[in-house]
């Protein structure tokens, strides 16, 4: 049997790009606020639906650029609202981690079903950013997928630059390390919490709009990427944004390799087996801090 390595790599990198975008947002909120946002997947779904409604001829027909922009902007607003309604009221509770699992899960179900009511059960698909096919490494993929492969590192690089070199970014990193000290030196912590949530939701919305061009948009389309994003964040190492990004590419490649050899139905089982095996030897993940 000949193994089609380029095909495995290319399809792995497409998956990895989406996971990286989802997981980075999830990790940003975890690192800054110390909570996991279970509504992160629904931001992706809504991003796709909103981009479709704005851009598609069956919707408003304002074009794809408008669709993407409004989807991301709405999700930024959605992130702020989610933080304000589902997280902030519980911020001073000792059991906040657990409470927020429940509030964000509840919010996620609520929004998923609201989406079902608004957009109905029919499958939808977004127009592609670029039509046609390309052949990187001799593997034929859609040009849209190539856009995803190229734009993801650029977006993540922009996020890195923001966190590393801007005043606000360094304050977010400071909060991630020590919330009390951040308050002590005059950093407006609640405002930056809200900002982290907004950034994270915006990224998920963008990921959704991009995914909507290669997969059907359905009300639960965010569930699986969310699950994968959780795996990526834990696998890459809690507290390390770089680890999350590396983790996303490793998980994406494991998934494509496993799909190639054992088929799509066994892939999740294989991936979890590898995931658990690695955590036995590195409980903090690839780049996690104790």
């Amino acid at each position: 049997m000949t193994v089609d390595v380029p095909a495995i790599i290319v399809s792995g990198v497409v998956l990895a790009s989406l996971y990286a975008m989802m997981a980075t947002g999830l990790a940003l909120v975890w690192n800054t606020l110390g909570i996991f946002n279970f509504a992160h997947g629904i931001f992706m779904t809504l991003g796709a639906y909103i981009a479709w409604t704005i851009s598609d001829e069956a919707g408003l027909g304002w074009g794809l650029a408008g669709g993407f922009a409004i989807a991301v902007a709405t999700m930024i607003g959605g992130g702020l609202a989610t933080y304000g309604l589902l997280v902030k009221p519980f911020q001073n509770r000792k059991d906040i981690v657990l409470v927020v699992v429940m509030t964000t899960l509840a919010g996620s179900f609520f929004l998923e079903n609201t989406g079902r009511l608004i957009w109905g059960p029919r499958l939808k698909q977004l127009q592609r950013v670029v039509e046609g096919t390309v052949q990187p490494l001799g593997v034929s993929i859609s040009a849209h997928e190539l856009v995803i492969i190229i734009s993801t590192p650029l977006i993540l690089l922009a996020l890195y630059a923001f966190l590393r070199w801007t005043r606000t970014g360094s304050a977010i990193r400071a909060i991630a390390q020590n919330q009390d000290s951040a308050l002590l030196i005059g950093i407006n912590v609640p405002r930056l919490y809200a900002l982290s949530f907004a950034l994270s939701a915006g990224l998920a919305g963008l990921a959704g709009a991009l995914l909507g061009g290669i997969r059907f948009i359905v009300p639960n389309m965010g569930s699986e990427p969310l699950l994968k994003a959780f795996i990526v964040v834990i696998f890459g190492g809690l507290g390390s944004l770089g680890g999350t990004i590396v983790g996303a590419y490793v998980i994406g490649l494991i998934e494509s390799t496993s799909t190639y050899f054992v088929g799509i139905y066994w892939t999740n089982a294989v991936m979890f087996a590898i995931f658990i095996f690695i955590l036995i030897f590195r409980p903090t993940g690839l780049f996690g801090r104790n």
Binding site: N92, R167, S170, A171, R173, A174, Q177, N178, D180, S181, L183, L184, I185, G186, I187, N188, V189, P190
Partner: protein
Amino acid sequence: MADVLVVENVVKTFGALRAVDGVSLSVREGEVFGVAGPNGSGKSTLFNIITGIPFHADSGRILFDGTPIERMPPHAICRAGIARTFQTETDFETLSLFDNVKLGTVYGHARGMSEEEQRRVTRETLEFVGLGGDHDRPAGDISVFDKKRLMIASALATKPRLLLLDEPASGLTRPEIRETSALIRRLSETGVTIVLIEHVLPLLLTVSNRLMVLNFGQVLTEGHPKEVVKNEQVIEAYLGKRGDHGRDAA
């Protein structure tokens, strides 16, 4: 001299425990105001409710320069001119000493400074507290004494008028305590008003202008440090046997 900080009848309860139970005090401009008391007497809780980190008082008033601050968010209190240090080291471990302190200049009171000015103030502040040498070391790699001084530098970088120091000498060796004592004096000479919580009594007695003793969340007594330590109630509640001015065993 004018009162910089006035605390009136503040109360903070945790369930049935009245951690701070009707404490009132006033701190005059430029003085070093010492706060002593056994463990659990409410000293740190008092600092917490003054700065709003991590909680405010249940009731009572806190005035800073005559302005009520008891409901202000913590970052606003900091920008108004109150800075504090914590009992345990709190710094940004992966950031360098320089970046730790620079964040204070960026976010604290000194807004609107140019980048160059921020860098200069950061360097001067680090040198003022005695942290010379390599400012690019990560804060996670330095000694406890250096961390304590780094915390003071970060607080100073916000240009406070009132500095609350929570046990700056705990866990330090005798020579380090002497240096801390000298640092507090130098700080006081710059005109900043200081409230100092400390278990190390010789330090409290040498640097404080006035001393207050808390017990079970209430003010036991207040006055000149030398007088306060002779007070029978204080000796009973806190100092153990008479004349024991060494390190507190509590």
